[in-house]
């Protein structure tokens, strides 16, 4: 086993720092990739971030990246950076299994990159491997199937969150510096929050989905997961932009996200909603004080903070469930009819519960979505951003079936993410503190449609003055003692 306490080259927490060091000649891409491989060698058997690793190919790509640096070539913003891809997104190296025995040939035929993966490679990113998910991005870990159980690197007795589980855990451990996740009801933001990293669900239609297995066609998003808001901005800059092959893709101008990271919040009005009314008894005892401290940090750095109430919270969450399950059932019904036992128990039962909703219910949910969208737009006449806890509780314990969010057909309890999938607004989750038992908690920062710039600005300003996003799980912490002190706030 690799000694993670030994100082090595290639130890960087953020894409931003690694990219700067690469350009300054302080580190090579090969060293970054070797470090990422060392982390995976040491802990992936325990954490379960990867379904497939491309070590040799990644090292070869890193050597090519270093040669390009040495030759003084013009390189992209992610040149030489080790990244990971959730395994419902196609890469040419290996099939996208969707962590399923179904192996739909549409996604499981290797040889082609999804549009987003092509964009990462064009920017110089190095794909380290395919990351774990829930089966077809829905359900819960299932030990009866031949796939890794994605554990939380902060506590191996807890789930990494889903469905972009491996993306969250791999970024948290440093097995990759950034990853692609997908979000239909919270699948970027939940694992990001549970694993103590930053994740962004862009505006619906901002990032093309071509080459990604669907869950809910009208709710699915692809977005970046990384240590910091600045890293997410770097990745989003590469990922965003219209693509005709995705019928949901919207031709909107893509601003310079990094230029928008001003480091302060002066002039912004931020509404907050604690959402205790939705979390009920599931709320962590530390949540209120952690969230209050985060609000105080935003205020200290120039924002005006006002209390708001998200309109139609329960209805938008209900609409997300009806739409997601109806659309998922439409895709999976033929396979559910003939290959029921090939699906994981959690996946098949959740998707099959789509039979409870009629065609009229589906249309009604899409009508409710319009009502909610208008009410949210009205709210944004008074505020620039809205912040809430991402979840009012930390990661789910494997031993606690009652807190299993994936099996709650009627609601999400302490998880506050689906609301924004229904409305389509861009949302960033940033680490904001720890639960009473020491697990990460996240704060959602939601903005107006296509205003990722302001969302990222707020996240970056918050992270300029706090260090929650730089904390690493105890499992891996010793690996970073040489270069990165871990702060407490």
């Amino acid at each position: 086993m690799t000694d993670l306490a030994a100082p090595r080259a290639g130890e960087y927490l953020t894409i931003t720092d690694a990219a700067t060091a690469l350009r300054a000649g302080e580190v090579t891409s090969v060293e970054l990739v070797e470090h990422a491989i060392a982390v995976s060698d040491a802990i992936d058997e325990q954490v379960g971030s990867f379904l497939a690793r491309f070590d040799d190919r990644a090292l070869a790509s890193a050597a090519e990246a270093d040669a390009a640096f040495a030759a003084g070539e013009q390189v992209g913003s992610l040149h030489g950076i080790p990244l990971g891809v959730k395994d419902i997104i196609q890469t040419f190296e290996a099939p996208a299994t969707a962590q399923s025995l179904i192996l739909d040939p549409q996604w499981s035929s290797a040889g082609e990159d999804a549009v987003v993966v092509s964009r990462l490679r064009e920017a110089g990113g190095i794909v380290m491997g395919k990351l774990t998910t829930m089966e077809f991005a829905i359900g819960m870990p299932d030990a009866t199937k031949p796939f890794p159980i994605p554990k939380n690197p902060w506590s191996l007795d807890h789930w990494a969150g889903g469905s972009s589980s491996g993306s969250g855990s791999a970024v948290a451990t440093g097995a990759v510096l950034g990853a692609l996740g997908t979000d239909t009801g919270g699948s970027i933001r939940v694992p990001a929050a549970f694993c103590g990293v930053t994740g962004m669900m862009p505006t619906f239609g901002r990032v093309p989905k071509s080459g990604c297995a669907p869950l809910g066609f009208s709710l699915d998003h692809i977005g970046p997961m990384a240590r910091s808001a600045r890293d997410c901005a770097l990745m989003l800059q590469v990922l965003a932009g219209h693509e005709a092959s995705d019928l949901s893709s919207i031709a909107a101008p893509v601003p310079d996200y990094l230029a928008g990271l001003t480091g302060d919040l002066t002039g912004l009005t931020i509404g907050y909603d604690r959402l205790s009314r939705a979390a009920g008894d599931a709320q962590d005892p530390a949540l209120d004080s952690v969230f209050s401290a985060a609000l105080a940090d935003l205020e200290v750095h120039g924002a005006r903070i006002v209390e708001v109430q998200l309109p139609f919270y329960a209805e938008m969450t209900a609409a997300a469930v009806v739409i997601m399950l109806s659309e998922a059932l439409a895709y999976h019904l033929p396979d559910l009819q003939t290959r029921w036992s090939d699906y994981a128990e959690g996946t098949r039962n959740i998707v099959a519960s789509g039979i409870f909703y009629s065609a009229a219910d589906y249309v009604q949910a899409q009508r409710a979505r319009r009502v909610g969208q208008k009410a949210v737009a009205q709210l944004y006449q008074d505020v620039d951003l809205v912040v809430t806890p991402t979840s009012s509780a930390g990661a789910t314990a494997f031993s606690d079936p009652t807190s299993d969010p994936g099996t709650r057909v009627g609601g999400f309890g302490p998880i506050h993410t689906p609301y924004w999938d229904t409305t389509g607004n861009p949302v960033l989750t940033v680490p904001m503190g720890l639960t009473a038992t020491g697990l990460p908690l996240g704060m959602q920062i939601a903005g107006r449609p296509f205003d990722e710039t302001t969302v990222l600005r707020a996240g970056d300003a918050y992270q300029a003055h706090t260090r929650w996003h730089l904390r690493v799980p105890p499992l891996i912490g010793k690996a970073f003692t040489r270069r990165n002190a871990v702060g407490s706030s």
Binding site: S353, Y357, R367
Partner: protein, 66 residues
């Protein structure tokens, strides 16, 4: 077993049959238990203020895109 649960079971079994799905008995029990909550959740979408004349958030472009 209450009348409601009997109704929920009958409805769930009919929906499963209509959709050609064959879960285990244990899975059927779990689905029956979740049926009422699922329907109550949907009911809330029919009583939202302002929804009576709203259009659904689905669009269709008659041009074929390859």
């Amino acid at each position: 077993m209450s009348d409601n649960l009997i109704d929920d079971r009958a409805t769930t079994l009919a929906l499963l049959q209509m959709n050609g799905l064959s879960p285990t008995e244990k899975e059927i029990d779990a689905m029956v238990a979740g049926y009422s909550a699922a329907r109550a959740m949907v009911a809330s979408l029919y009583s939202m203020p302002g929804i009576r004349y709203e259009e659904p958030a689905v669009t269709f472009d008659p041009r074929v895109i390859a």
